[in-house]
Symmetry: C3
Subunit: 155 residues, 3 copies
Amino acid sequence: MAKLTQLIDNEIFRAYATYATIVLLKMMLMSLITAYFRITRKAFVNPEDTASFGKGESAKKYLRTDADVERVRRGHLNDLENIVPFLGIGLLYALSGSDLSTALLHFRIFVGARITHTLAYLIPLPQPARGLSWVVGYAVTISMAYKVLKTALYL
Amino acid sequence: MAKLTQLIDNEIFRAYATYATIVLLKMMLMSLITAYFRITRKAFVNPEDTASFGKGESAKKYLRTDADVERVRRGHLNDLENIVPFLGIGLLYALSGSDLSTALLHFRIFVGARITHTLAYLIPLPQPARGLSWVVGYAVTISMAYKVLKTALYL
Amino acid sequence: MAKLTQLIDNEIFRAYATYATIVLLKMMLMSLITAYFRITRKAFVNPEDTASFGKGESAKKYLRTDADVERVRRGHLNDLENIVPFLGIGLLYALSGSDLSTALLHFRIFVGARITHTLAYLIPLPQPARGLSWVVGYAVTISMAYKVLKTALYL
């Protein structure tokens, strides 16, 4: 039987595990920030969420959109759109036998770019801060995809 | 050459494979429920989807939002936001050499929490049913992330 | 220590790596198409994105939704909803010891169906082109899930 500790003993795989977990925790933080803004701004979308504010019209006024809530939600969706490719392509890249320092470089830049993207979205920073951080994460993922296809291509 | 059956012979990995597949099938079910409500409520978003109802104004009135459709879509997006971290962190956790009973506990609670979340969203149940089921799934993922980082940390 | 090249030497795993990467790159392309339509249609959602068009009312008019932008965004979200299950279930399927030609058939049909789905959404083609391509990708994923559960079931 394979010892599963074999994979997790490999340094590149450990680096992938570390950075993938960090960037997923960052993405999960978006849920908490959304909840924070929904509660402090009193801006909900489900009628059952406003039941504690009373019944009828007094509760209905909290069923509304709020600019801050929508901003966090856009950041969250952008995370999904970009972190899902990183998770899949990054895992395959970690198994493709790159050298450790190159792999670390890819993982670190991607995670740094996504943290910057979130800060640029939520503060918000003037453009092109958000655009550039997005491009950097995108380019890192493309670079890993190129390596995966070069190593593994089997059509 | 590695025998790929090695991984799938490991009990923790098999447990991960089972629960990950079940929770993904549950998420995929949301697409069918959305389609069901779009068709029964006649609430579509793409003009080409209403072509069978005739042309011009008679079809245009079906390009509208419907409360039930939007509710299923919010449940689907919440699934994506929470099941993607489970997939990634759970895979790394399954490779991190936890003991089998602890791993099963994590996987079972997560999948149970997400099924409860969907029921709470669609019925809908009064709060805090949906909130609590969301928190439980979130906490399980954090617990697995902690174990992954403790085992694999390589920055 | 495990040689990570072992997994990537396996033909089924290489096929998975290839098709997963291709379909993720296709999904990432949706971000570029969204950006293209946002810029050419001048339809933005974040105030900081319109700052280069001037200040005040002259910039505010570009904070609007555009039918083409929304269409690409729906295609992108549909990708997420369908490609995430393919990534997870497909990885487990690739590790479940199917035979190579059956695995290739699944991966090729899925990727072909998703490319067709995107074309049907963006051109747009009359229904049922988009609906059918969605069903085909969905059915391939269910077929892989069945094989994973038959091989690995551990509840």
